[in-house]
């Protein structure tokens, strides 16, 4: 992750300078980044988890990546300016040295000046890690740190200049795959635990992937990439297209994931599916019709509260029907609330629409929280004891079962979305999104089209709310905060506005990853934020853009 981040920040500010000055500048920027990384406490937090068991922790990998990238970038610059490879590698080593020097200064300041009173993260544990196991920053240890910086920078430089393009791609891909395998140890470990003979324990240790499996994995990925390139098949990333294989793999993963992994992963998958449902709803409003909606969570709340009131055993229940009866009611009520929402904001456009919907969303949240409606909706106490859905006499209790419920709904919603998108109304939405005046002048009724968009989007969110209610077994007002709307919006932007597969990918990345990385505590949000900014630089069109966006980007 940090690899991308650092490259992109260079890309933003890169101007042509003399290679030596550039290397120093890159090294210092990277050094400051590395020091910051340590001083905000990220190092110590990430040091607990290993990429390769007992060899490299995440923190170490991140710092090494900073030095490597500094070297790589410096060497690439020198290369462009026509320097010899040897000189480029030397400059890259210099950039790495600068990173090491920054860290060394920090270590010296920590051990000698006692900056810990101000910067709590400058702890003995940090010094111990950076000086390879000693607490005092002796000159020998500092030298080692500098040497490591130089070495890593030079390796990065060599990768940029000496290694042929094909091999470079393969190596980078191999490194990323190994990091990925280590990062999601829990997921892969639980998958591997289905295999007989203790394979899981052979591959994974308690903190990360073991050394030999890591090396084998790396070698396999490198070999495979090179062989594939040699066979003349262009990679999917380069052609910009998505191979059928990747779609099949994605679908297969989605279908079997909760069965072969732990309950925890199933629960995360369930959450992803819920956000997919909401994402597809907002995709109708924003992605297709261009209607910004920051109050989207309101429809989710309507669906959840409807099911809660109809399926609860608690004192607030107004009926005790099965989930299968409550679900359509929830969807219809959400659709109606979409109409009611749509009416007052129809004439409002752009930024004002965002504000108006924000207000409407907050109204719903305040209403369910209010004392006035507490006798009906439970106020801050919420509604509890919601029955689980029963299918053919079996109560759907486990996360995996509920995941499949959400998945089936998501599949249905995806199908409806896809049909709508290619129907008359879909074209009307696109026209309104592009130019409302012209759309009217072509005979499109903007009022009706927008109301349908609001209502369909709301219905999808209502379905998500209904599943959410039975998943959690209770509903509380605090589940329906603005952040939910923002998250759904971010899913669309990251995945690619107007793109259905984009919603799936966006939900996986923005909802799934942070949940799976829970062990990194608050720092995952830091990386989440950095990743969002980086994404907007690297792939502004989204991870899986809609056809029209892709064409536009290609033509531009």
């Amino acid at each position: 992750m940090s690899f991308n981040v650092v490259t992109s920040s260079f890309r933003v500010v890169r101007r042509e300078r003399e290679a030596g000055a550039e290397a120093l500048r890159i090294g210092l920027i990277a050094g400051v980044a590395a020091v910051l990384f340590c001083l905000i406490g990220a190092y110590v937090a990430l040091d607990k988890r290993d990429v390769v068991e007992g060899v490299a922790s995440f923190a170490a990998v991140a710092l090494a990546a900073i030095a490597l990238v500094a070297g790589y970038t410096s060497a690439a610059t020198a290369n462009r300016q026509g320097r010899t490879p040897r000189r480029a590698v030397l400059l890259a080593g210099g950039a790495g040295l600068a990173v090491g020097a920054c860290l060394a200064l920090m270590v010296l300041a920590t051990t000698n000046l006692g900056i810990r009173t101000i910067l709590v993260a400058a702890s003995p544990a940090l010094v111990r890690a950076l000086t390879f196991g000693t607490t005092a920053g002796s000159s020998g240890q500092i030298f080692l740190l500098l040497a490591a910086g130089f070495g890593l920078g030079a390796i990065g430089g060599a990768l940029a200049t000496l290694v042929p393009e094909r091999l470079r791609r393969a190596i980078i891909r191999g490194v990323f795959v190994v990091i990925f395998a280590g990062l999601f140890r829990d997921v892969f470990f639980s998958i591997a635990s289905n295999l007989p003979g203790g394979v899981d324990r052979m591959i994974y240790g308690s903190a990360g992937i073991r050394l030999w499996p890591a090396i084998l994995l790396f070698a396999a990925v490198v070999a495979w990439t090179i062989l594939r390139a040699a066979a003349g098949k262009p990679s999917a990333a380069r052609t910009g297209g998505r191979s059928k294989l990747s779609i099949v793999l994605l679908v297969a993963t989605v279908l079997v994931l909760p069965l072969i992994t732990s309950d925890f992963v199933a629960q995360v998958a369930m959450l992803v599916a819920l956000y997919m449902l909401m994402g597809m709803g907002l995709n109708i409003e924003l992605g297709l019709a261009g209607l910004v909606d920051l109050g989207f969570v309101a429809f989710f709340a309507v669906g959840a509260y409807t099911v809660a009131l109809l399926c609860s055993n608690g004192p607030l229940a107004i009926a005790d029907v099965s989930f299968w009866v409550a679900l359509p009611v929830a969807i219809v009520l959400a659709a109606v609330s979409g109409l009611v929402f749509g009416l007052p904001v129809l004439r409002v456009r752009g930024d004002y629409l965002a504000m108006a919907t924000l207000g409407l969303g907050e109204i719903v949240r305040v209403l369910v929280l209010s004392d006035a409606l507490a006798p009906v909706l439970g106020g801050s106490q919420g509604i509890i004891e919601i029955d689980r859905p029963v299918l053919a006499g079996i109560s759907l209790n486990t996360p995996a079962e509920l995941y499949y419920l959400a998945l089936i709904l998501a599949g249905a919603v995806a199908f409806i979305s896809w049909r709508l998108q290619h129907a008359r109304i879909g074209r009307a939405w696109l026209a309104i999104r592009e130019d409302e005046d012209v759309a009217q002048a072509l005979g499109i009724d903007p009022v009706a089209s927008k109301l349908v968009a609001y209502s369909v989007g709301a219905a999808f969110a209502g379905a998500a709310g209904a599943v959410f209610a039975v998943l959690v077994g209770s509903v509380f007002p605090h589940s329906f905060q603005l952040l939910v709307s923002i998250n759904v919006l971010a899913i669309l932007v990251i995945g690619g506005l107007g793109s259905l597969p984009g919603v799936l990918v966006g939900a996986m990345v923005l909802i799934g990853l942070p949940e799976l990385l829970r062990e990194f505590g608050e720092f995952r949000y830091l990386f989440y934020g950095v990743a969002l900014v980086a994404m907007m630089h690297i792939r502004p069109e989204g991870l899986w853009p809609a056809e029209s966006t892709k064409r536009e980007m290609a033509d531009a």
């Binding site: 696109l430 592009e434 005046d437 012209v438 002048a441 072509l442 009724d445 903007p446 033509d555």
Partner: protein, 238 residues
């Protein structure tokens, strides 16, 4: 063939009247040109007819039927199509998609396909660009798509707003020839142009709009030779 009759049209932006009690007729099957300086209210008149702009007073009749109360999208069904100023294509859609969406109000698919063919005959250059994004076309090609898109609604009255704006002289010829060809198919044309000379050349009828009022009207030839028009809009000394 339909006649468009505008009576005492007044359009105001707040306290400022952009069009004051303007009356004119676009006769059935003819080309009627509206000439006038920047800000004279030409575009406002067209937007009032298509319904994009609310009117303060006046009637807009098509063959005696008042369409002034209809929302814009229903005026399209009544037979009015507008080619907006600056073309305003759906730049992220292909030429084909732009044309198809022009036929939004129509159900007769077979006829729609025929009309697309007719437009590609009228503008052969669009054939080469058919699958290209409209936003990537040249100005002249975009104007052709805009006119084609409007024609896809199968209108009886076509409102053209500055179709030659910013185009090279040869392309202007091409566009105006197309206007005449469309008119020859029986479509009533109301043409707003700053390029007064070229507009009056092809117009059957014409009128001059000055600060929102109709100050002169007559046949295209009459206005071409009228001393006031010559001095104000054609750059000749009176």
């Amino acid at each position: 063939m339909r006649t468009l009759d505008v009576r005492d049209l007044t359009v105001a932006y707040g306290a400022i009247s952009a069009v004051r009690s303007a009356s004119f007729t676009a006769a059935a099957g003819k080309i009627t040109a509206v000439v006038g300086a920047n800000g004279a209210g030409k575009t406002t008149v067209l937007n009032a007819i298509s319904g994009l702009r609310d009117v303060r007073a006046g009637r807009i009749d098509m063959d005696g039927q008042d369409i002034g109360a209809l929302p814009p999208h229903e005026r399209v069904r009544a037979g009015i199509a507008q080619v907006p100023e600056g073309r305003r294509l759906f730049g992220r859609m292909t030429v084909a998609e732009n044309l198809e969406i022009g036929a939004f109000v129509r159900q007769d698919r077979a006829k729609v396909r025929q009309d697309i063919e007719r437009i590609l005959v009228l503008f052969p250059r669009l054939k080469e660009r058919y699958r290209q994004l409209a936003g990537t076309l040249s100005g002249g090609e975009q104007q052709m798509v805009a006119m084609g898109r409007a024609m896809m609604a199968d209108p009886s009255v076509l409102l053209l707003d500055e179709p030659t704006m910013g185009l090279a002289p040869q392309i202007v010829d091409l566009v105006l020839e197309a206007v005449q060809a469309i008119n020859a198919q029986g479509v009533t044309v109301l043409l707003v142009e700053q390029n007064a000379y070229r507009a009056l050349e092809i117009a059957d009828q014409a009128f001059v709009l000055e600060t929102g009022e109709v100050t002169l009207s007559g046949s295209g030839e009459e206005l071409l030779s009228h001393p006031r028009v010559r001095s104000a809009y054609l750059g000749h000394d009176a």
